[in-house]
Symmetry: C3
Subunit: 265 residues, 3 copies
């Protein structure tokens, strides 16, 4: 498995997929740098006048609602619609789902365009399951737990997509497989936008590989291992952020394969 | 005094206040990272469709007009109004006050919603005093000086708020107390958005403590001491920025208490 | 020549030009930090209600279309028009030219306000030459090559401006001179927004010096040499970005003059 994932990482560098991001202001710089570091080509574009064209030339699309407003919501809907029409893979990052009804309503609409992959933390994924009023039963916790995995399973089944719940232990699942990843470091939660960068990296992998569960697993494994290695050199969240970008760029096969911890029960 | 301020810093970590920021594009990433590093939870939200809800769930609000436009101005007015109605503490950072009439007019309107704390540099605070046409007498210098302190006093009295003038020496005052801080390093002025981060950090402290003068003093002391310590490891403004975030995260009681310089004449 | 350029760098520090940027979200922080590091004063402002005033008080203007939308396009047109009326130097960075018709059309309009300097990579400059339908012949390659230089020459002649094509070898030309620069390092292409920062730095130099070809050459030489020196300390694109800002701030005459490689055939 380690060797297969490593071959994925190498192939992303070779193919250099063009990833179209409609993301939040806070994470734009991080996300672009993470994409460049793994060998992908980032483009950021949200104008109603150009999102259709940009989706057409991109290999994949990433939509992150972190700092949405009415204009940007429309951009996201246009882009998601276009991606679904063209059959392009697209990733949804439901930042802050559950915080306001504006976010919940937009997410409910975006889900209709069937994202290929959804990545969020436990509370976001649980809140997302609730936005569809018919499937809210049994999803009522706020921690990262079995409930989040159950919520992920419900969403995955409903929208036929891969769902990734990131946390101390990451879970990636679709309707037939469930994969657990145990890489990463708690200090990563103290750097803004690393979850957003993870979604961007998933976007790059999903632009290259047909199997979206494998693509998501590989992307999360890379982020997790690079984060662990970066933390060893960091003195706090400031330097962690920089070493993580460095490590996404210069990670070796040995570093990666000796550390990655994936299990599929 | 040092021990009391240190206890404030520890309490912010424990309480982890949710700070709602409507800030500029340049400083969003810095500000979010500074808030995470001190143990607070940042949220950035400006949509007219959600600012009300976001203010309601936040512990405090920070408004920074750095890259304003007509839409964002309206967001800021909505949020400030909501904070004033709900009695939530809010911080105003009048970036570039005096540069254009658009900024001056927005600030004049925002002041009507009585910010809890205003933080700016000397020239911004002096320009701000002038935006209220009835109180402009005697405020006509451009340097950081006695005039800035006088302007701060006028604003503080008029709007019943704490005013912080940051510079080589920081001043924090309300109508009964005036505190001087002598930490920080000149190299900090060469990093974009550190003033904005200071305002965000003040937001976090003001979300936890009733006494806004003490909250502001503690926040500025933390930024100043962390900046001094960061500068010792930095080779320029690029590395200073990262070490500052690290130090906000890992500063020790001894480091803080041995360096903080506060006086109240 | 080295000594003359070094004197330019020193003069920018002394004069501290105010550079008005209407740039993309990804590069705003980098660009502001690069400007501060070289001793300039950055201001970011795009509101229709204030761009005119901001252009009037600035020493130069930089327009970068990286994350444009309909509102920002209008801001850019207003600012470019104002700069042309006031005779202020302005720099155009045609990010992503050729990717969508929205970008091409905006650029076609902006060119009518005669930028002082245009900086882009080879494919952007070639695409830009094509936006003027009357002059597209012979410009049909996609690599960075002789074709890009030829496109630069056509644009320069047509709009009477300096054109800079950045790449492994940078070219700066106007209708009488062509200068080549051979500094920089390939790792710089893995950091987002460094081209945008280069345009901002050109903006600073163009706000101080009459001769825009010399100003552009000096700015690109500084970015290139600082990038080389930063790369020696970097372990990847993350740390490169920070060391570059440090080096823009603390570069010495000896470091600069011993490395700069400029030729004029």
């Amino acid at each position: 498995m380690e060797n297969e994932i490593w071959s994925f990482i190498k192939l992303v560098r070779q193919k250099s997929p063009l990833v179209h991001n409609i993301t939040n202001y806070v994470a734009m710089n991080n996300s672009a740098n993470a994409l460049l570091a793994i060998g992908a080509s980032p483009v950021m574009a949200h104008a109603h006048s150009e999102v259709d064209e940009m989706v057409s030339i991109a290999d994949s699309l990433v939509i992150n609602i972190g700092t949405l407003d009415e204009y940007w919501s429309e951009s996201m809907l246009k882009a998601a619609y276009r991606a679904s029409i063209l059959g392009k893979p697209w990733v949804l990052d439901p930042v802050g789902c559950g915080a306001t009804s504006f976010r919940n309503e937009l997410l409910h609409k975006l889900l209709q365009f069937k994202p290929s992959i959804i990545r969020g933390n436990g509370s976001e994924i649980m809140a997302l399951a609730k936005t569809n009023k018919t499937i809210t039963k049994g999803v009522d916790s706020t921690g990262e737990s079995e409930d989040a995995v159950e919520a992920a399973r419900i969403i995955s089944r409903q929208y036929q997509c891969v769902v990734c719940v990131s946390g101390a232990k990451d879970v990636v699942l679709n309707d037939t497989r469930t994969v657990f990843l145990e890489n990463g470091h708690p200090l990563m939660t103290k750097v803004t936008g690393l979850g957003c960068s993870a979604s961007a990296v998933i976007g790059a992998f999903s632009g290259v590989f047909e199997d979206k569960l494998q693509a998501t697993t590989a992307a999360m494994a890379l982020m997790g291992v690079a984060g662990e290695l970066a933390e060893m050199k960091a003195e706090g969240p400031g330097t962690l952020q920089l070493h993580l970008i460095d490590k996404l760029y210069n990670i070796t096969k040995e570093e990666f394969c000796s550390r990655v911890k994936i299990s599929e029960p």
